[in-house]
């Protein structure tokens, strides 16, 4: 089954990959500081991301959260970041850094991404056309 959702484009580009979904906003800074950079596995006991691989995935989350910016740029430079980012309401830094890291990013969809997308789903993010496609 395929589901298509339209959204706003924050940063252009087209990629596909496996989704990793988290439901509470988490500062990018914490994601960076608590990820094993060689394996991409999170070490965040008590959190839904604990033990999950976030490197090279399509990140799906509700909205951004604070902390120091420029993290996506560093993620990209180290080659341990997401393939793309989709969320409901972005934090300023996330868009700025996605643009500067040249990482596809979309937000504000015509469907609830947190309900429709599960971790492990295959997602195509076409941030040139403003459409994501889920394959279930």
């Amino acid at each position: 089954m395929e589901i298509k959702l339209k959204g706003r484009v924050a940063s252009k580009g087209k990629v596909e990959g496996e989704a990793v979904v988290f439901h509470e906003p988490i500062p990018m800074f914490v994601l960076f500081a608590t990820m094993d950079q060689s394996t991409g596995v999170m070490n965040l006991p008590g959190h839904e991301l604990d033990g999950k691989v976030i490197k090279d995935r399509v990140w799906v989350y509700p909205c951004g959260g604070g902390g120091v910016g420029y993290i996506l740029y560093i993620f990209k430079k180290l080659g341990v970041g997401p393939r793309a980012i989709i969320n409901m309401k972005p934090w300023d830094h996330d868009i700025i850094d996605a643009v500067m890291a040249r990482l596809p990013m979309m937000y504000g969809f015509d469907g609830n991404i947190l309900e429709l997308i599960k971790s492990g789903d295959h997602v195509t993010v076409d941030a040139n056309e403003g459409v994501i496609t889920l394959s279930k």
């Binding site: 906003p25 608590t34 965040l44 959260g65 120091v68 740029y73 180290l78 309401k89 300023d92």
Partner: protein
């Protein structure tokens, strides 16, 4: 959507002012379009970052972005990652001190080359004289909410990189906080009369703001409007509410009804929009206690470090600390770190406050961050603080640090007794 650029902006984008400005303008256009901006706005001021915890690339990346250019608006610089004067006593190894010293010196050279103001503080208000409606480009989660909320100047949460390209072009895309409609409140936080807010300590304000940062309406964080706070609410109180708000929220500002410039009334703070029932919250005794509990992660009573001045102390706070420390001595097994800008220190020195604080055995950390997590990662400690801003330290340091949270008086008592006894 395509942004409408003015002639000078088109020329910058076309390369007339050289490749650095051309590249910077292209980034600004892309950021603007990603955020739905229709045009650019001229900025009058900027604030750029010094501290960076990841691999030390900031000088290299900023140098690439600014190659051959200078800032076109007055641009202040953030706190340094560590106070080298106290680094040894803090317990940092020779190699870390050497590496950090090189980093600070590289950043200093870079700031001098691009013509930035070496203010080195997370409280750069003194150097900006901001006023209501000014468009500026500031970075940092402490500074941005303060600029928007307290001064009513308008800045988005620029990233450390975008703030630099704004500074060298004098432009930023006009979206988000630059537009009046996005500055309206999204949730009303009524501070219950039972709390007697007029007696609030900075730690109480930090706890309130931390709690508000976790509020969600329809699953999304909100721009809070506080009612019921004291009319005496000051810049010192406001700055202690900034980082603890933004850690868990995308809010770039807050309003205090009857105090901050865009919130003379609740109606004004919400831009004339109705406050729906799901966006009304009450902060009472239970919520305050809960926030203190969440901000506390320590169980060990013996305190290694007491950390005050995140964000940097105002003169008002330095005066209070000198009163609390007068004639007392910091415990031999505990360190007391107090962060402030060089400017605040100079004036406090003339007032005799620095002498009192130093005689008590405190380490005054000038121009630098007292809570830089990369430094704390190297120093497993029990920390006591009145700064809600520090609450992520246990997570960021892999639980190397645990934290007691309380008022300035509680913290100074802990420094003197060497133990947390509240």
């Amino acid at each position: 959507m395509t942004m409408k650029l003015r002639d000078d902006e088109k020329r910058m984008l076309g390369g007339e002012q050289g490749p650095t400005i051309q590249k910077a303008m292209q980034y600004l256009v892309d950021i603007g379009e990603g955020n739905g901006a229709e045009e650019m706005v001229d900025i009058s001021r900027a604030h750029i970052l010094t501290v960076w915890g990841a691999p030390h690339w900031l000088p290299e990346v900023v140098r690439e972005l600014t190659e051959g250019e200078k800032v076109r608006v007055p641009t202040t610089t953030h706190s340094k990652p560590v106070c080298l004067q106290h680094a040894k006593r803090m317990g940092l190894s020779e190699s870390v001190i050497e590496e950090t010293s090189k980093y600070i010196s590289d950043m200093g050279q870079l700031f001098s080359d691009i013509g930035a103001i070496p203010s080195y503080t997370c409280l750069p208000d003194l150097w900006h004289h901001l006023k209501l409606g000014d468009h500026v480009a500031f970075t940092d989660t402490l500074v941005v909410p303060l600029v928007n909320a307290w001064f009513g100047a308008r800045t988005n949460m620029e990233s450390p990189l975008s703030a630099v390209i704004c500074a060298i072009t004098g432009k930023t895309p006009k979206y988000g906080m630059h537009l009046a409609e996005n500055r309206a409140g999204e949730a009303l936080v009524e501070v219950a009369p039972e709390l007697e807010a007029e007696k609030f300590d900075s730690a109480d304000y930090g706890a309130l703001s931390y709690w508000a940062g976790k509020l969600r309406v329809n699953g999304v964080s909100v721009l809070p409007v506080y009612s019921g706070l004291s009319p005496k609410f000051s810049l010192t109180n406001a700055k202690n509410m900034c980082l603890s708000l933004t850690w868990n929220s995308r809010a770039d500002m807050f309003h205090v009804v009857g105090v901050t410039p865009e919130a003379p009334t609740i109606e004004a703070a919400f831009g004339g929009r109705e406050v729906k029932s799901e966006a009304r919250f009450v902060f009472g005794k239970k919520e305050l206690k809960g926030a203190y509990e969440e901000l506390t992660s320590a169980t060990e009573k013996k305190v290694d470090v007491v950390c005050i001045g995140c964000p940097h102390c105002t003169l008002e706070e330095i005066t209070e600390l000198a009163k609390l420390l007068n004639g007392r001595k910091v415990h031999k097994d505990t360190q007391l770190w107090i962060g402030m800008s060089a400017a605040a220190r100079e004036i406090a020195d003339r007032m005799g406050l620095i002498e009192v604080i130093e005689q008590a055995g405190a380490s005054i950390m000038t121009d630098s961050c007292v809570s830089f997590h990369s430094i704390f990662s190297l120093l497993p400690r029990v920390v006591a603080t009145n700064a809600a801003a520090l609450y992520q330290l246990p997570t960021l340091t892999g639980k190397h640090v645990t934290m007691w949270y309380g008022t300035a008086a509680d913290c100074i008592n802990a420094a003197v007794n060497g133990r947390w006894e509240v």
